[in-house]
């Protein structure tokens, strides 16, 4: 056990903290609205210029070659500073790990620098009207166009977060019309301005235009839009879902900072009854537990052991902790809780947690079957 950071890591932390304190913008509009998205984009560009956008990436792509520990430190400092949510997250945290693992050097060179610079903005095309938790029910298809050297996409994706503001989408398409379930799928990158692609944004529960549905009708993409082998899309996609559920999408820094703000809200609050103080303490302890769990998990990752199905434990824990934490805040606000503000918005945002990235029912099945070895049928 060594729970201290090295001098170099502490220096990295100090540099990040200093820069964030001097540069973090406050009071941006929601990143899930057109106006707010533009403001968040400005922030992403500043992060990129100062080389803080993608710290763990190679320097050639705009990163700092930071270790996974340094990445954790950066995340902690990022949320400690109250910095804005990352509108680039679906690209940098979900697509990028897939490209690093399965992409060709040419794909990496083409896609990653523009993603880091927030020049291309990526959304995720997983869900379809008939394929939610059951992702293998994907129906959107890709038909071979030999003459043009590529594929023609037809189908519909939905619940696409920030799809209306993004320039590109990655997603799964059925390349083998005879195939069923998880066989015969291919992982493609699709420019949303391609002919035959229509994007319609719509409001989420919180009133922001954060969702979109993407209609594809014979939209052409070239061969090099496929990541990994044709027909191997399921395997490639599973690498991304691990990132989505696990620590890359929700680092402990988020919850430590939220728990700290909750404690602040409860301090000297006339509504802080003993029962509510107990709930504040519980949320605070759970955020701390998530931090310790993560340190253990990152130790494993640094030693070359992939977290695998463990990422489902992360997802269950952070998503349900988040809701309990936000509900406690609303109770401390009493009748004021209904006012539009940071706590009510965070509450509405948290409600989506047990649904996206694989519902928590699916996560519990994964935990039971893959960590406890219980029979599928």
């Amino acid at each position: 056990m060594d729970l201290t950071y090295s001098a170099a890591e502490e220096a990295f932390r100090a540099e990040a903290r200093e820069w964030l304190e001097a540069n973090v913008p406050h009071d941006l509009a929601s990143g899930d609205t057109a106006a707010g998205f533009a403001q968040h984009l400005e922030w992403e560009k500043r992060l990129f210029e100062a080389r803080w956008a993608v710290v763990s990436w190679p320097e050639d792509y705009g990163g700092r070659d930071a270790s996974i520990w340094e990445w954790l430190i950066f995340e902690e400092e990022y949320y400690r500073a109250g910095a804005p949510m990352r509108v680039t997250q679906n690209g940098i945290f979900l697509l990028a790990p897939t490209l690093f693992e399965f992409g060709t050097p040419a794909q990496q060179d083409r896609v990653l620098p523009r993603m880091a610079a927030a020049a291309d903005l990526w959304c995720q095309g997983w869900s379809e009207p008939g394929a939610g938790s059951d992702l293998a029910a994907t129906k959107s298809r890709a038909v071979r166009d030999e003459e043009a050297g590529g594929w023609r996409l037809t189908g519909q994706k939905t619940w696409t977060t920030r799809g209306a503001f993004c320039t590109h989408m990655f997603g799964l398409f059925r390349t083998d019309p005879e195939s069923e379930r998880h066989r015969g799928l291919t992982y493609f990158m699709v420019p949303l301005d391609a002919e035959g692609v229509t994007v319609r944004g719509f409001e989420r529960l919180d009133g922001d235009e954060g969702f979109a549905e993407v209609f594809l009708e014979d939209a052409f993409i070239p061969d090099d839009a496929a990541i990994g082998e044709v027909g191997e899309g399921w395997r490639v996609a599973m690498a991304t879902t691990g990132s989505e559920r696990g620590l890359t999408l929700r680092s402990p820094g988020r919850f430590l900072s939220a728990a700290g703000r909750l404690a602040e809200l409860a301090r000297n609050n006339p509504r802080a009854s003993a029962a509510r103080v107990d709930r504040v303490a519980r949320a605070w302890i759970e955020a701390e537990a998530y931090q310790q769990f993560t340190l253990k998990q990152v130790t494993d990752i640094a030693a070359g052991r992939a977290p695998g199905a463990q990422s489902s434990l992360n997802k269950l824990f952070w998503s349900e902790l988040d809701i309990r934490l936000q509900e406690t805040a609303l109770d401390l606000l009493g009748p004021e809780a209904e006012l539009d503000g940071p706590w009510s918005r965070a509450f509405l945002f948290a409600l989506a947690g047990p649904i996206y990235a694989g519902t928590n029912e699916i996560q519990r099945n994964i935990v039971a079957e893959r960590l406890l070895g219980l029979p599928r049928k």
């Binding site: 056990m1 130790t299 519990r364 219980l374």
Partner: protein, 343 residues
Amino acid sequence: MRFALTDDQAALRDAVRELLTRECPPDAVRAAWPGPGTDPDRVAAIWAKLAEMGVLGAAVPEADGGLGLGACDLVPLLEEAGRVALPLPLVETAFVAAPLLAATGAQDELLGRLVAGEAIVAVSLDGSGLVPFAGVAEVLLLGAGPGAAIGLSPAAAAEPVDSIDGARGLGRADAEAPATPLDLDPRERDGAWDRGVLGAAAQLVGLSRTLLALSDEYVKERRQFGVPIGSFQAVKHQLADALLALEFAAPMVLRAAWSLDHGEPTASRNVAAAKALASDAAEQVAATALQVHGAIAYTTEYDLHLFAKRVWASARAWGDAEWQRARVAAALDLNPASAVPLP
């Protein structure tokens, strides 16, 4: 940064696991219960083996005849004690009393016999006066609550009382007036409390691992409606939740151990957080284990009750989850409002 046991720590844990798996199967736990099957010699033999391995003096400085190990070394061993529902006060004697007696510098004779396995020290510092394992102890270490003075009494000062967990050898003593007060500085006194709380948390983690493993095996074997009951989502999800609670409690226990070893200012708060998580997790795992086993769990013939009853006793010993959360809240400067507020 490395959140993992060292090779030495893991090797010591493995050795203790092997010893306890061999010497303390469920029928050895039953041997500690009163009644026709009682076998104090069998239980005493486990203690002798632990002494032989040096475990009883593990937390005693080398100068005093111990191994000079810290909380990070001991916590994995105490988890192992929990895993087998060890019917002996390993936490109390080896982790709470031994380093404390060493710190007084005035109890060398008792300490020497403790390390050799000749004297068992039972401990009650929570103010209840209830002393687990008083029945097998020679000496009692008593305190009237966290922060209160601590002293020693002979084991005869405790009256036997019946516990739901017959293996606990529970007694009741007067915690206000121990026969021999110990001269301790507050840091030593509070350290003993923190070690007791942390040791209880570690044991709860170990107990939970066994209860979960028993349940996991059982639901794969037990068939109803023509299929293993572990294939039903209603069963899967309960077990997934039990694992979730356990997997997020265990690292906090190790974190708190590290905090104690390194004198972090947040050590007592981390210990309280660890016990809060471990108590809640263990109670959840025990309830789930009972439910997924069905009627077989509601017997004393099946082994599950040996572990579940230890959970129900230990989850509340050394402060239950809510009490520990109140400690954390106080450390965070959160005080409940005194007046009834507006709605």
